[in-house]
Amino acid sequence: MSTVEATPQAGFAARLLQAGAHQKLLAFMSLIILLIGFSLASPNFMQTSNIIAILQATSVNGVLAIAATLVIITGGIDLSVGTLMTFCAVIAGVVLTYWGLPLPFGVLAAIGAGALCGLTSGTFVAKMKIPPFIATLGMMLMLKGLSLVISGTRPIYFNDTPGFTEISRGSLIGEVIPALPIPNGVLILFLVAIAASYILGRTVLGRYTFALGSNEESVRLSGVNTDAWKMAVYALAGGICGIAGLLIASRLNSAQPALGLGYELEAIAAVVIGGTSLAGGRGTILGTLIGALIMAVLANGLRILSVAQEWQTVVTGAIIILAVYADMMRKRRMG
């Protein structure tokens, strides 16, 4: 979306990287600095098992942040990502455990429920003209309540669904390359990221996502059915939250109905640290991934260093501000 001059021949991955190298250098630098800093401070940090733990800790927030990125690029915001994730996990629990249907149904139900709820938020925003902040705040509360209602305020366990925990805990990569036991959850995060990048950069939906955030009125005056496209973006984001729901449920081997509140702020923080503007119109998935990694590295590193928990919070707050400030400075210097 920038001034990057990619030739049409250049492969997609190259383009992704190039766009990244150009725009995200600094968020990336913040990440590298954190990694180096923590490695020097503790020998326990830079170890395969810990790196994998960090990646796994990134997976859920990363997927949520990708969903949030889409909505934010349209100039909106989605506060319901956290509770929607939980709601989808509960739906999967109902389908798999209460009804005892096979795994694929649970997966479809979770993603479908997410897309449907996203569509509902999108309808509130596009058709009823409710500001996204409020529409998704209301949605967040409704879903929080509904998760408890549907689950009967109890966690739903997936003990009867063989293979469910493999969704996030197993390692397909590890089976092929035993030295690299990257959990499937992380793999799914990257697949979602690639798919979202592709949609944003190469499809009509992506084009309208940016256009809506840039100047919705002018898109509408160009004869585009902006409402429909906006609803599609929210639905897509909701579907992605459904995937996050499956990831977390599989990781915990249970759908925890009270979880999810507060996750929205963390997701949005990752998005903004990654350089996406809350004003809409610009943003990248790669940046969001880096943002989510920064947050996960920070949390993990501070724990490894046994920093007192209250200070962990203080430092996290400060680093979020610093990371975004550094990004601002870079952008200003580049004009």
């Binding site: 503790s42 326990n44 940090f45 170890q47 098992s49 810990n50 733990a53 796994q56 800790a57 859920v60 408890l148 305020t153 109890r154 966690p155 366990y157 003990n159 925990t165 805990r169 977390i248 990781r251 915990l252 081997n253 249970s254 925890q256 109905p257 009270a258 979880l259 999810g260 509140l261 507060g262 949390a299 993990n300 724990r303 490894i304 046994s306 928990q309």
Partner: protein, 290 residues
Amino acid sequence: QDKMYIPLISKGFQHQFWQAVKAGADKAAEELDVEVTFEGPDNETMVDRQIDMLAAALAKKPAALGFAALDSQAAIPLLKQADEAGIPVIAFDSGVDSDIPKATASTDNLAAAALAADKMAELIGGAGQVAVVAHDQTSRTGIDRRDGFVNQVKEKYPDIEIVTIQYGGGDHLQSTEITKSILQANPDLKGIFGTNEGSAIGVVNGVREMDRTNVVIIGYDSGAQQKEAIRDGLMAGAITQNPVGIGYETVKAAVAAAKGEEVPAAIDTGFYYYDKTNIDDPEIAAVLYD
């Protein structure tokens, strides 16, 4: 690092109860000359955050590990990992559904809440309306304390009616507002049970603000305000666990297990009912905290 390192992953961190557990752990750490860290998520719904904390703790290659599971199942893969790495795990506060923990230092919340129900029945004369202001709808402790109380009333006191159970998240202010609404809706209410410190203080505040001081309040845990309310007679009494003891015993068992010594599988740290009459007994005062 020559000192033995033992991380404790708890269910919470900011609340007084957990701070008291931490105090007990720190005390044991000093006596036994080991290094202890104490960490827990912001609230008891954040199951996955606790798992991340557990993962980070394991990365530090501890000698042993204390763990208060928000949800046992979710933690099993990591606990297995600890087991395989030869890191003994001591469960505290509530048990873990698994044979991995070498020992469990906990309170029987169901029995403790049932005791609260008995005391409530005694104080209101075995009949009338009561309400519960609980701290959490889904966490283990929240469920156990609620159910312990409710089931005991149902089984033993048919004349007592539980008119409502509401949840204030342990937030003092929210519990206050909840209490006021309950009092407003139930003019004949005779008693309220608050299931943790924040809830109990909220109940006391609400009753005071509505000027309905004839309502019998039974609390849970301690803390300066709760102790004061009991001394003032505003609160009839409260259940207290022995959080300092939980922390202390956990670390002690962890050190023993790390040294390869035998540890008892169940360490019951006990609970007590205290009121105006026994609050200053040495035995009670020892388990109360500010």
